[in-house]
């Protein structure tokens, strides 16, 4: 397996989806079965490779980059093809590879109009390449390219397969009539591009100053205090904009509810499960270790924005009538916990943020699957019209109840640990940070958990419980089919497994996080 | 034998040809006028050859070339005229101005 360890394994994980996309491109559109089978095989192989990577990974030295390789790529600007994973990126890589497989399985017989499986699956595969690539990239240019690569497929997914309801943007006397999908896709694209433009500037500035695009090299420089002063402040600000939009942090979050709501089911799932993590991953992989002093200076800002995000997202959820939009807003709150953990700059907090990312990916991904399946059957997402779902669709209803409980952070399930550890981190932030401020954010976070419970239970009451409305009488309702169950079962199992035994994640992350904090802030 | 009368004959033929070319409206007549001009040139070629006594007989060879080309030209020209006449029921050149700007 030497070939695997020397970079080929990770490269395959990144580029195999592109090869698959290319091959699917050669199959005629009418041959749907072959297209589906090929994409399933591709994603399965990639997922299997990621699992192999998890087994080949040496957890004893998870702080080091492993299975890595460096090839000269663009020598004129000093950018190399440098990939590798450590304990922080490994869980996210596996999550990304697995969720993609499940998306393909779910897609098997669930297509949003205008259907066209060929194009859709090609987009999923391109998306996977971008996501996997971001998690393994150890070169700023490479990272940026993969980070941006995910934009395009998602843009087309939302723009083509998205919600076709007409909408009107009103601004005083100005009126713009458009479709939800168009509005949402453009908003998503421009918002993210706006952030990444600043991020690119920051990357370029770093390379001019540090003389390289190599992330580990820059981390070493940053730890020894190479980047300081106004320069570092501006660079961090640029990265902050890029990553914060993607997370998203309040108040840069408004693309998220629109994009999630308008996107087709699988789009929402991938968006929630993986794409949001690219931002928070960027903070942990790039921003904090390279610019530790700036990270310390910005920590209170991040913490306050995270706390606002938690409370704000939860309150906004309480006002929603659209089920999918409610789930979308819940992401704002959950990612607030992730960012609160990061803001504490402690080992506990950063561990919390990673397990929080994974848990949010699993749970919210599942929620979007469920919302999509319900929309598929009821043709509405308006919670006032739903109700009695447990009676009409007992399997979907039961899974929805379980997942909502997981989402509100029920102990024993995956979502709990991230929130709990974030609060521990915020209670005792990195020395030198304002303890009172962080404890305030901790209290806000704790109150956020109450509000989260409130809106989740409220949603369950409106959607799942009660007698079904007379409207659905005579409609034949098909409960979850085997493709749906196959796509959801792994997520359900993972929710319970991580909840009972969080070491599945922390066993990989902890050493890497401890090393990161020690290097950045002097252990 | 002097060259001048022959050249005069050729010049006269050529002028008649030009006149026919410019003045006749019938396409067939125009083609005949062109033949006239070509043959005027042939006379010139042969006359000059005879006067110079060129060892390679270039003048005569050229005249034969011209006759060959003229024959081909008339063949294609007449075919075109015939097709035009079939389509338009006219051989009058003034009727054919589709290329006008």
């Amino acid at each position: 397996m030497d070939w695997f360890d020397s970079g080929w394994g990770l490269s395959l994980i990144v580029f195999l989806p592109l090869v698959g996309a290319l091959l699917i491109g050669l199959i005629p559109r009418s041959n749907e079965e072959s297209i589906k089978q090929l994409s399933l095989v591709t994603t399965l192989v990639v997922a299997a490779l990621s699992v192999v990577a998890a087994f080949r990974f040496d957890y004893g030295s998870s702080a080091a980059f492993q299975l890595d390789t460096t090839l000269s790529w663009i020598p004129s600007i000093g950018s190399n093809y440098h990939i590798g994973i450590d304990g922080i990126s490994l869980p996210l890589l596996v999550l990304s590879a697995v969720v993609t497989v499940l998306s393909v399985i779910y897609s098997w017989n669930h297509w949003d109009e205008p259907r066209n499986p060929k194009a859709f699956l090609i987009l999923i595969l391109i998306l996977e390449a971008g996501m996997n690539g971001t998690f393994v990239a150890l070169d700023l240019v490479l990272f940026f390219i993969f980070f941006e690569l995910v934009l395009l497929p998602m843009y087309f997914m939302i723009g083509i397969w998205g919600d076709k309801t007409p909408m009107v943007v009103k601004l005083g006397s100005y009126q713009l009539t458009t479709e939800t999908r168009l509005y949402a896709s453009i908003k998503f694209f421009l918002f993210t591009l706006f952030g990444s433009a600043f991020m690119l500037l920051a990357f370029l500035a770093l390379s001019f100053e540090g003389g390289t695009f190599d992330i580990p090299a820059l981390i070493d420089m940053g730890a020894s205090g190479a980047f300081t002063g106004t320069f570092a402040r501006l660079v961090f600000a640029g990265m902050f904009l890029g990553f914060a939009v993607k997370v998203p942090m309040w108040p840069l979050h408004t693309w998220l509810p629109d994009a999630h709501t308008a996107a087709p089911t699988v789009g929402s799932v991938l968006l929630a499960a993986i794409l949001l993590k690219l931002g928070s991953y960027g903070f942990i992989r790039i921003a904090i270790p390279i610019l530790p002093e700036e990270a310390r200076a910005w920590a209170p800002v991040i913490a306050i924005l995270a706390a606002i995000g938690i409370i704000y997202g939860s309150l906004a959820c309480l006002a929603q009538t659209d089920m999918k939009r409610l789930i979308a807003f819940s992401s704002v709150g959950h990612m607030g916990f992730v960012m609160l953990g990061i803001a504490s700059m402690t080992e506990v907090g950063i561990n919390a943020s990673i397990i929080g990312m994974v848990a949010h990916g699993i749970i919210t991904g599942l929620l979007f699957f469920l919302a999509g399946s319900m929309h598929h059957r009821y043709h509405t997402r308006d919670m006032a019209q739903l109700g009695g779902n447990m009676k009409l669709l007992p399997k979907i209803g039961g899974i929805l109840g379980f997942t909502a409980m997981a989402s509100l952070g029920l102990p024993g399930l995956a979502g709990f640990w991230g929130e709990f550890w974030s609060l521990i981190g915020a209670y005792n932030p990195l020395s030198g940070l304002d303890v009172n401020l962080f404890r305030g954010t901790m209290v806000a976070g704790a109150i956020g958990t109450v509000l989260t419970a409130g809106y989740m239970l409220w949603m369950l009451q409106r959607v799942n419980l009660g007698e079904p409305s007379a409207k659905w009488e005579g409609h034949e309702m098909h409960d979850a089919d085997r493709f749906e169950l196959a796509a959801w079962a792994p997520l359900l199992v993972a929710t319970v497994a991580i909840g009972i035994y969080p070491r599945i994640i922390t066993g990989s992350t902890n050493d890497a996080v401890v090393a990161l904090v020690a290097r950045a802030f002097g252990g | 034998m002097t060259l001048a009368p022959i050249l005069l004959l050729a010049a006269a033929l050529f002028s008649m040809g030009i006149y026919g070319l410019l003045a006749r409206r019938n396409a067939v007549m125009v083609l005949l006028a062109v033949e006239l001009m070509l043959n005027a040139v042939n006379i010139n070629l042969v006359a000059f050859e005879a006067a110079i006594r060129d060892s390679l007989a270039t003048g005569q060879v050229f005249a034969i070339f011209v006759i060959t080309v003229a024959a081909a030209e008339v063949g294609i020209g007449l075919a075109i005229v015939l097709m035009i006449f079939r389509n338009r029921q006219s051989a009058n050149l003034d009727d054919f101005s589709t290329m006008s700007g």
Partner: protein
């Protein structure tokens, strides 16, 4: 027997402590068994012969037997055993663990959960027969028991929180069992939500205390607290970590143990089927808060002493104020519910005042008679198909077993000698007296009067007078009455395990694990207090019988004894529900809408303005500068070429002879030119 110093694990002079053996090592089985049962019932229950109920009852029997064995061993050997499995490491030193503790306190709880649980499960076989979601009901019930076992077995605060919230989840599932009615699911939400509010306190408190010693292990925390180590004196929220943390934990306990004013969820929780109420009130939920206070007892006795007055005040308010509410309830289950709240007030007051044994003893005896009362009430409800006492009456003839067991339970609750409640209430009074809380003691005695009064009222309204309901009530089947009889027996004798001066085994059993703590135990029955207590109980019974012994035509007339202003306050439950609903409405209504408005109008407004503004700018740039500026020159050039072309094209006539003419003219001109210029 005055022992101010119990021991820290095996300190000198203390009772010999055993380290435990294979039984303790395998005690994790009783934590895992319920969850295995839940999974089994959910996935295979419908295919089983008894629809999964056999799995639940079998599991509970196992828990009961194992718990009984553990407790017996604890009684004889004073075992203290603790084991943990690391499940996560999240920094260089902080680890999270699952574990199980087998010591006096947790063994007592295993036993209570086991015995009450088993009886309730068996009872439910009959009570729930033919009800909707029968299988699911037993799954939730098993989850409920399992969650409580996880809680009481917790060697660390993190696991305690896990069990704590799982208990809340299970209660939510069970209370809203009949969720076709919105009222029931709202009651479930109310329970979950009130508990979640309190959990904020528990979580922050647990984090604060654990951060002070760098470990979530309860033994580490208590060890450091009692030895003055750790960062407990650091400031936190205007106080020290110790006091603030202790109060926050107490706030958590207030929610779960339904202390005033967070008790509002408990009466509504009656929306669930009656076995659920019995389980919840006796063993698996409301005792959790008392358990937590007892588990953390040394903390409250040492560095967090400053928290005690608040706790006693809340406990005293709970025991008296909520007891009064039971006086005006028509729903028999709500009478019992308010009585539970009131009794929890007793326990909390006792533990807060320093009566570790007193509080736990009351928890122990209360578990039996409250389970008995609820199951008895359930038996009545099952028979008359109504919760309201105004639909009952005269049932003592048609339901003799239920009647007699209910009377025994009521007597035990009222504190009649020699039933269980007498001894535990006396222990509480003794502790309050000894610790110098005279005022609280008198409140407790007054509370005893109220207790006796409303229980007499309940018995009189239900079992005496004329039957006012529909149909013909009949005694319940054996599967329901047998648990009643067993519980009645336990309610009668449970008090003897701690009869001061005669036998005080209970004190030793639950004390095996406590660290340094002052805990008062009377040497013999304090006759003065016993007299006060008994007098209060007898007066209450007499008063209740006097007012309710005879039938009155309407409920209103029956309760009209009361001072009108107060009656309204009681009926309105002190308007606390309205207050809570108001707060919820405020959060859910205006503030949520406000936030949504800021999102859709303010933030999105800015974004949309930027977007539209950019479009406008684009139009300006395109229209003005591009189209009418730069493009103008380009267009002019193009237009000039076009015009020139237009003029010249006229030369192209398409007449071949004109071209030829031009050719000739040109050729002639050239020839003339050559002739002229070459010469």
């Amino acid at each position: 027997m005055m022992s101010d110093l119990l021991f820290r694990f095996a300190e000198e002079g203390a009772v010999e402590i055993g380290a435990g053996g294979a039984l303790q090592e395998w005690a994790w089985l009783i934590l895992v068994a319920p969850f295995v049962a839940v999974a089994g019932i959910v996935f295979f229950g419908k295919r089983m012969r008894y629809q999964g109920a056999e799995l639940a009852v079998g599991m509970m029997a196992f828990v009961f037997v194992y718990g009984l064995i553990l407790w017996v061993q604890t009684m004889t050997d004073h075992v203290v055993y603790e084991n943990s499995v690391v499940i996560a490491q999240v920094s260089e030193s902080l680890v999270f663990e699952w574990g199980w503790v087998v010591d006096g306190l947790s063994s007592m709880m295993y036993f209570v959960v086991g015995v009450v649980g088993l009886l309730v499960f068996v009872y439910a076989l009959g009570y729930m027969r033919g009800e909707i979601r029968y299988t699911w009901f037993f799954a939730s019930l098993s989850l409920f028991a399992g969650a409580m076992l996880v809680l009481v077995a917790a060697p660390n605060l993190a696991q305690l929180i896990v069990g704590w919230e799982l208990v809340g989840l299970a209660s939510y599932l069970l209370i809203s069992h009949y969720w076709e009615d919105k009222e029931n699911s709202t009651a479930g939400m109310k329970a979950f939500f009130t508990n979640k509010v309190a959990d904020v306190g528990l979580i922050i408190g647990a984090i604060a205390l654990s951060a002070a010693v760098g470990s979530f292990r309860i033994s580490d925390i208590l060890d450091a607290a009692t030895h003055g180590e750790g960062g407990f004196s650091a400031p936190l929220f205007g106080s020290t970590v110790a006091v603030a943390g202790a109060l926050l934990l107490f706030f958590g306990a207030m929610g779960k143990s339904a202390q005033f004013p967070l008790h509002i969820w408990l009466p509504d929780a009656m929306a669930g089927p009656t076995p659920v109420s019995a389980l919840m009130h006796a063993a698996t939920m409301v005792t959790a808060g008392i358990y937590l206070m007892a588990r953390m007892f040394p903390l409250y006795q040492t560095i967090a002493e400053a928290a005690r007055p608040y706790m006693i005040a809340i406990g005293a308010a709970t025991l008296f104020l909520t007891g009064l509410l039971a006086l005006v309830q028509d729903d028999i289950k709500k009478v019992l519910a308010y009585s539970t709240v009131s009794q929890l007030g007793y326990m909390m007051t006792a533990v807060a005042a320093g009566g570790y044994t007193a509080g736990l003893f009351h928890l122990f005896t209360h578990a039996f008679f409250k389970a008995l009362l609820f199951l008895g009430a359930g038996s009545v409800i099952h028979s008359v198909h109504s919760n309201n006492m105004s639909d009952m009456g005269g049932l003592r003839k048609s339901m003799p077993v239920t009647f007699w067991t209910f009377v025994i339970g009521s007597g035990a609750l009222a504190g009649v000698f020699p039933l269980a409640g007498f001894f535990s209430k006396d222990e509480i009074l003794g502790t309050l007296d000894h610790e110098g809380y005279q005022l609280v003691m008198w409140i407790a005695i007054a509370g005893a009067f109220v207790t006796a009064f409303y229980m007499t009222r309940a018995v009189a309204l239900t079992f005496f007078g004329e039957y006012k309901g529909h149909g013909h009530p009949h005694e319940s089947e054996r599967v329901m009455t047998v648990p009643l009889v067993v519980l009645a027996g336990l309610s009668a004798v449970a008090g003897f395990v701690n009869w001061p001066g005669v036998y005080t085994g209970f004190t030793e059993w639950v004390g095996t694990r406590a660290l340094t703590m002052g805990d008062h135990h009377p040497e013999a029955l304090d006759l003065r207090l016993a007299a006060f207590g008994t007098a209060a109980a007898l007066l209450g019974i007499a008063g209740g019988w006097l007012l309710y012994g005879k039938d009155k035509e309407s409920q209103q007339a029956r309760d009209a004894f009361w001072i009108p202003g107060l009656y309204d306050a009681f009926k309105a439950k002190y308007w606390l529900d309205d207050l809570a609903l108001g707060i919820v409405a405020l959060v859910k209504g205006p503030s949520a809408r406000f936030v949504n408005w800021t999102n859709n109008v303010i933030i999105d407004g800015i974004i949309n303005t930027v977007g539209v503004g950019t479009r406008w700018l684009g139009k300006l740039v395109y229209g003005r500068f591009d189209q009418q500026g730069i493009d103008l020159a380009i267009n002019a050039a193009a237009a000039g070429s076009g015009a020139a072309g237009g003029a010249l094209r006229k030369l192209q006539t398409g007449r071949i002879q004109q071209y030829a003419g031009a050719l000739v003219v040109g050729a002639v001109a050239l020839v003339v030119g050559f002739v002229i210029f070459t010469n």
